[in-house]
């Protein structure tokens, strides 16, 4: 589904993408390789939405957060596996990291089991496990650690025993030299190093102690133990350990396909759980995906609902039934723009396999969504006026319009002369209708729907005289009063002018009453 930057911002698509962001690299990789559902993908989209709705019901919301936390903590085994497949030698840190991957999947499975509520017989698929890799590493794993245990190589135990013996012999010989130094000089070596003050001892040093620096007042010396047997034992152990690592790496390589499959499953799970978390926060429905309508009841536009909630205000759910093109009129602050955005948002949800946040929804899988109205940052960068920007977007929208497009028009041509603006809007609506596009056209111009021959919807608007008696002390109080007085429902419009309730709102928003009264008089005279 194509939506340019301005459209994505207006319909909350950016917000939706952020809300659906995977928590881990597997999920990000999964999402990078997926395109949104488009026309023809209805069955797959509906299946995914149904799966998300079912999981949202089966999983405890706090449990979902814990599962996602466990997903975030799964380390990436890819680089180690790639090196294994390329025949590189692996290190013990690599084996440890693979063990961490195994443990992280176990933790994920535990979190999943803890999140699952009792339900019908068909249990949702559990997160992936990598039992083969677990078995390969098992001999070296204890309490999350990894050690290249003796069991990994037939010669390891003997080689280690030989080195331990040689080290003990080395230490004994070193200690014997240190004791001779102590006896001769009275000095204990720190590590292998010691200093002898000439005023304390200035004679020859014992065998095995070598002077590395001399001054008139002291000598610095080191203890050196030549121990070819220890060196040989170390070399033999190195050979055995490298052989064990090589064999272990080959066994790991044989598990790489299973691990790769597990990481793909993790990506899909991350993708799905992002949608489940969204659906639990913004409950939705299994939408019907139809070709002929964009309709929903009691829908929420979450970006607005969230913004209102932070200000202590309540969002009013919307219902809409759009078949083709319709004009939407109504008062200022009545929610026309929000209705447009909600329509786009719900269609975007369907395209992304997300249950649309509505009680019921019948949506069309779109190829593109276009928003026309107001300036976008790129318009300002192109030095276009508001009107010019709208016309350019209208031109581009018409060029791409089809029955798989949704065009959302928010007060097109409001910044030009009303007569020409209205005429242009009517012609534009007709052109959209001819192309078979879905379109919702919000406007204050009168008679657009009737002239263009499309349905006319309107926001029910302010309850009669609801605001006249209200005296708001400040802007917040005014907004509360407007919210309480406004009927945000979308209904079929009555014949006549497109009301705006502009003067009542201006008064409540604090404009000088004399100005408002003068405007009312002028309006009534006209």
């Amino acid at each position: 589904m194509i939506a340019d930057a301005a459209t994505a911002e207006r319909i909350g698509l950016d917000w939706l993408h952020a809300a659906l962001a995977p928590v881990g690299a597997f999920g990000r990789r999964h999402d990078e390789g997926r395109a949104p559902y488009g026309p023809g993908d209805e069955a797959r989209a509906q299946a995914e939405i149904a799966q998300v709705v079912a999981l949202a019901a089966r999983l405890d919301p706090e449990g979902v957060a814990r599962v996602r936390g466990a997903l975030r903590a799964v380390p990436e085994p890819g680089p180690v596996l790639a090196r294994t497949r390329a025949g590189d030698a692996l290190s013990d840190v690599d084996f440890y990291e693979l063990g961490r991957f195994v443990d992280a999947l176990d933790a994920l499975a535990r979190a999943w089991d803890g999140a699952l509520r009792p339900g019908p017989d068909d249990e949702p698929q559990r997160p992936p496990a990598v039992d083969g890799l677990r078995n390969v590493l098992a001999a070296g794993r204890e309490g999350g650690a990894f050690y290249l245990a003796d069991a990994f190589g037939p010669g390891l135990r003997a080689a280690r025993a030989a080195l331990a013996g040689a080290e003990a012999e080395y230490e004994a010989r070193r200690e014997a030299i240190a004791a001779r130094v102590r006896d001769a000089t009275g000095v204990d070596a720190v590590g292998d190093e010691f200093v002898v003050l000439r005023e304390v001892y200035d004679g020859p040093l014992p065998r095995g102690a070598y002077v590395v620096r001399e001054t008139p007042t002291y000598r610095t010396a080191v203890i050196r133990v030549l121990d070819p047997e220890r060196d040989a034992a170390l070399d033999r152990l190195a050979v055995e350990e490298e052989a064990a690592r090589r064999v272990l790496a080959e066994r790991v390589a044989r598990e790489s396909d299973a691990v790769a499959a597990a990481t793909r499953a993790l990506g899909a799970l991350d993708h799905t759980l992002a949608r489940v978390a969204f659906a639990q926060r913004w409950p939705g429905c299994v939408a019907t995906l139809a070709a002929d309508r964009i309709a929903f009841t009691e829908a929420t536009f979450p970006p607005l609902a969230e913004a209102l909630a932070t200000r202590g205000r309540r969002y009013t759910a919307l219902s809409l039934d759009l078949r083709g093109v319709a004009v939407l009129t109504g008062p200022n602050m009545g929610g026309k723009s929000a209705a447009l955005a909600a329509a786009g948002f719900l269609c975007a949800c369907a395209s992304l396999g997300v249950p649309p946040p509505a009680r019921t929804a019948s949506l069309h899988l779109l190829a593109r969504i276009d928003w026309i109205g107001g300036e976008a940052p790129e318009d300002r960068a192109r030095l276009l006026s508001s009107y010019a920007a709208e016309v350019v977007r209208a031109r581009e929208t018409l060029a791409a319009a089809s029955r798989h497009a949704l065009v959302l028009v928010d007060e097109f041509a409001r910044t030009t002369g009303p007569r020409d603006g209205r005429a242009l809007l009517i012609a534009f609506v007709e052109a959209l209708r001819e192309r078979g596009a879905f379109a919702l056209i919000a406007t204050h111009f009168d008679g657009v729907a009737q002239t263009a021959g499309v349905p006319h919807l309107q926001i029910a608007g302010l309850r009669a005289d609801a605001l006249d008696a209200v005296r708001a002390s400040d802007l917040d109080a005014a907004l509360d009063a407007i919210n309480a007085a406004m009927d945000y429902r979308i209904v079929e419009a009555a014949a006549g002018e497109a009301g705006s309730d502009a003067l009542a709102l201006a008064r409540l928003l604090g404009l000088d009453p004399r100005v408002v009264e003068r405007a009312r008089a002028l309006s009534e005279r006209a």
């Binding site: 290190s91 013990d92 840190v93 084996f95 440890y96 990291e97 961490r100 999350g144 650690a145 990894f146 050690y147 290249l148 280690r160 080195l163 331990a164 080290e167 230490e171 102590r182 001769a184 000089t185 009275g186 000095v187 204990d188 070596a189 720190v190 590590g191 292998d192 190093e193 010691f194 200093v195 002898v196 003050l197 304390v200 001892y201 590395v212 620096r213 001054t215 007042t217 002291y218 610095t220 170390l234 152990l237 190195a238 350990e241 490298e242 690592r245």
Partner: protein, 304 residues
């Protein structure tokens, strides 16, 4: 029989000072090649003798066979079985194998790896590169081992001391000055910087100036011009980036305080430099006098 100069007594005394009141100690140097790693090894030897499971790491890259700059031999870090160590993944010895217990912050040499030594091994140690990562590393070592943690510090990464409750040991030596007097003066300035006292609201002057971030030469000149007599508060002593006469002038002109003081417990001396050697006894005594802290030469077994 010559007069005894057993090195264990100086090392033992230094160990007792380092871990008497802190679960971790960091050895920092006033310059390169002032015997930090030697002190580090001496403290480890004490732990070994006492049967204490010491965990070790390093702020810089230490334990390499030869100095990276001049190629001269450097003390190696020989780790005994049971030792817990945090080091960069790229430095984990392949033989004999270590038990890998965990991994953490990334550095240029790979992730920081937490490991336990199974068979004796000699290796380089390089810990994490940032102060925050070092603090996390020390905490994790303490969590894994439960014993004290010893950190081999670095001259140019003193910021890693910030925010910790470690005991700080300042290593100095002939590499930091041509004469005993110069070495002692450098040590005294380092200690003076690291021991900026904490805030005391009862003793603050009428004017209090807070310096966020590093206090550099430009800040110092501004304070000398505009804030003489004031209490100047910095976050912690590692934020002081001024040296020499400018630092001395600042310290004399203002009441310099910090939010999080450090606990410097001792100095150590190394009389041996690349180009010169100083008298061990005179050096350790001069450093103790100049810094007002106990001073030790763990190799020559001297204390003052």
């Amino acid at each position: 029989m010559p007069r005894s100069s057993t090195s264990t007594s100086a090392s033992e005394a230094l160990f007792a000072l380092a871990f008497a009141h802190a679960p971790s100690a960091i050895v920092v140097g006033t310059a390169k090649n002032v015997g930090k790693t030697t002190v580090f090894n001496a403290l480890r030897a004490v732990a070994l003798r006492r049967g204490i499971a010491l965990a070790v790491t390093s702020i810089g890259r230490d334990g390499e066979a030869a100095d990276a700059l001049d190629g001269e031999a450097k003390p190696r870090v020989r780790l005994t079985p049971g030792t817990l160590v945090a080091l960069a993944a790229g430095l984990v010895p392949r033989t004999p194998a270590l038990a890998i217990l965990g991994s953490g912050a990334e550095s240029a040499l790979g992730a920081t790896v937490f490991a336990r030594v199974v068979l004796p091994t000699t290796c380089e140690i390089a810990g994490p590169p940032t102060a925050a990562a070092m603090r996390a590393t020390i905490a994790r070592l303490r969590g894994l081992g439960g014993g004290p943690v010893l950190v081999d510090g670095a001259i140019d990464r003193i910021a890693a001391l910030a925010g910790g409750d470690d005991a700080v040991i300042v290593a100095t030596g002939a590499a930091s000055g041509a004469t005993i007097a110069r070495v002692a003066a450098v040590a005294a300035e380092t200690v003076a910087r690291l021991t900026i006292p904490g805030r005391d609201p009862r003793a603050e002057r009428a004017r209090v100036v807070y310096v966020a971030g590093a206090l550099d030469a430009a800040d110092a000149e501004l304070l000398l011009a505009d804030a003489r007599g004031a209490t100047v508060v910095i976050e912690d002593p590692t934020r002081i980036a001024v040296r020499g006469a400018l630092f001395a002038a600042l310290r004399d002109a203002v009441d310099l305080r910090c939010e999080r003081p450090l606990r410097v417990v001792a100095c150590t001396t190394s009389p041996v430099g690349r180009e010169r050697a100083l008298a061990p006894r005179a050096l350790v005594e001069a450093v103790a006098r100049a810094t007002g802290l106990p001073a030790f030469d763990v190799v020559a077994d001297l204390a003052a």
